[in-house]
Symmetry: C3
Subunit: 293 residues, 3 copies
Amino acid sequence: MTIPRILIQLDTDPQPSTFDGVVAVDAGVDQLFRHGGICEETVAGLVHGAMFTRGGEGLKSTALFIGGTDVQAGERVLAAVQDTFFGPVRVSVMLDSNGCNTTASAAVLSAAKHLDLKQSTVLVLGGTGPVGQRVARLLSRQGAAVKMGSRDHGRAHQAAAEVSVGLEGANLSAVTTAGNDALQLALEDCDAVISSGAAGVQIVDKGTLHHNKHLRLAIDLNAVPPLGIEGIQATDKGRDCDGVIVYGALGVGGLKMKIHHAAVKALFTANDQVLDADHIYAIGEQVIGKSKL
Amino acid sequence: MTIPRILIQLDTDPQPSTFDGVVAVDAGVDQLFRHGGICEETVAGLVHGAMFTRGGEGLKSTALFIGGTDVQAGERVLAAVQDTFFGPVRVSVMLDSNGCNTTASAAVLSAAKHLDLKQSTVLVLGGTGPVGQRVARLLSRQGAAVKMGSRDHGRAHQAAAEVSVGLEGANLSAVTTAGNDALQLALEDCDAVISSGAAGVQIVDKGTLHHNKHLRLAIDLNAVPPLGIEGIQATDKGRDCDGVIVYGALGVGGLKMKIHHAAVKALFTANDQVLDADHIYAIGEQVIGKSKL
Amino acid sequence: MTIPRILIQLDTDPQPSTFDGVVAVDAGVDQLFRHGGICEETVAGLVHGAMFTRGGEGLKSTALFIGGTDVQAGERVLAAVQDTFFGPVRVSVMLDSNGCNTTASAAVLSAAKHLDLKQSTVLVLGGTGPVGQRVARLLSRQGAAVKMGSRDHGRAHQAAAEVSVGLEGANLSAVTTAGNDALQLALEDCDAVISSGAAGVQIVDKGTLHHNKHLRLAIDLNAVPPLGIEGIQATDKGRDCDGVIVYGALGVGGLKMKIHHAAVKALFTANDQVLDADHIYAIGEQVIGKSKL
């Protein structure tokens, strides 16, 4: 007899996400415990219930999923969850608030289909936000030179400093991207640009995008028009746009969804996993290998 | 491998209804996502999660159920849900706040067992409320002459106007039912009366009910005594009460429950259904045909 | 075809307990309806949904579980639930707020492994709290002489009076336990002491515990150090501590968990059970008999 797989959905929004719930069911979760309105102050009791009910091998059949639209709130909950564990008495946990980790992983894996990241320079727009930081981190770990762009000089540098923690030998720099001239300069030596700025705000117009004749790839992670990069459609998936290969949010969405499924499944293979950006990217690599995407 | 059937319960009350939950489970739903405190302003995100997780054929394995004690709040949520869909990217949705549609359908189907509705005149008491309006609408669609009664003249006329929208050729009128004389007059030429007034308020006394010697049927949809029509018991199911066939809330409850089950099942046969009064009545007709009730 | 077993979790805390949820799943519940923020004023509607959806034999496939950290709030909800039932139209219900009944049962059954309760005198510390009162009640019903200890004289007497209701022939007394001298006096003629005081407060030091050379058993139900009785570890399970057999909270936890599972399973064997201290203790006796613990 197998132990039912229970996923405890810890969502920082008032109503727990139905999106994350449906994916969990489709990933084979038997019982979903769905909690909204979660914050770091009150999560401990819910974690204890996961820790103290099933011993030994049973621990790996209970897992935690942290979601909600606010990625930083999710990160605080993840920290609180890890503080609650002690020693081997723990369960696996995944963070994917606002789809941050599955989206960033899908974007970087999509880029890697077209570029040798080790030989590439990539500008990350909206690089100070949590998705942008994850994209920058994953690119750096794959050996790319990364330029983190923000309209605000100080925030760009701070984000670059935060992302570089633990990444020895990373080639990470900060660039200011306020205005078309600054953007053209930032794009000058880039092979690719990935935009993860705020929804519905255009950052790069068509002229600026095509100013650098060597640019080969552009990915825009916003789904709500107008997109951050003019000329990209949300449904673009490797389309040639005047010599630049472009992806939109829905274009990377198929891979993102496969990674999300695989990550939830992976939660139940051991009781001590913490699935944040790096692990979820590694799961994405397996997904691609498996599905020969 | 079949895709698990997920029903997302969108309830406008603080706690989602256990009644609707149990019926959903018994109708074969595999996973219930239960949400309380739903309103039209915040429902879009929950609908998106249903729309964007399972493509194509998979869309019909996710559905929405709108419930709660406040029918008008449920109607506003239904409108917001339909606004959220776009094109073929949608899932099926059912409204049954306060059991309004299943109850109204069961009442009218019960009446149709004893009367030829096309040849009948029916007084609907409490006709301005959402259940009364549904009863009136369904009766009209079956060809009955319908008199919508309210103590308030203006509200009766407004309700009749609202219900008649889209019902060409309907014989719908409004009557004021304040006081026994007015009630007797309203009942004068009626074959049946269906009461769906506020819980615990008696509208028609025994003398008034039996004043019209031609009245053949009386149905009272309140379950909490005193009922709206004196002499009817909640459990009455086709009982002869001094020459009038009477039904109480529990008496139509068995059929109501079967319709509720069948409607939830029907949600998962296609991804584009909107189950409100008319569709749920049609499902009820099939239920009766099937069960030879 | 079997009817799915639905357990409605009624939790008085804002978030429903994951602990109780996991145990329910492991006890074979098919569908969990999890409700937080429950209070006696608003529970009736949720109970109606359990009562009026499945008739006859089906009623025993729906059950209620009352939990949350506040035992007295849970007791008020249990009273409200029972007020909502009428006649045979009811479902089974279990109260285990803060694990009170399963913990008290496991503690008394653990004591009974080492002592002939009919021949024993037991001091219950923290005897005025809901767990202490349940321990005292269960000990009395097994024939033990029970001394209910509290730092407050009046509360000790009141608790003894409350517990003795319905226990004819019980040997129940109240003792004041403020200070070591009073504690030593209270322990003088005791065979065992069971502590269920507030978390993290030491009540009995080592010297006081061993002052009575005839004391054979000490159980401490707090899991958070410092425990109520100095020298006991939370993991102790029948350890010899200078001649006294000692148990900690985790030491009785294995049996507590088995009782919890068995009680949830028992809910679905009939539709009219009210599982509070006495019934849950009886289930614990069967668990021990079955598992030859």
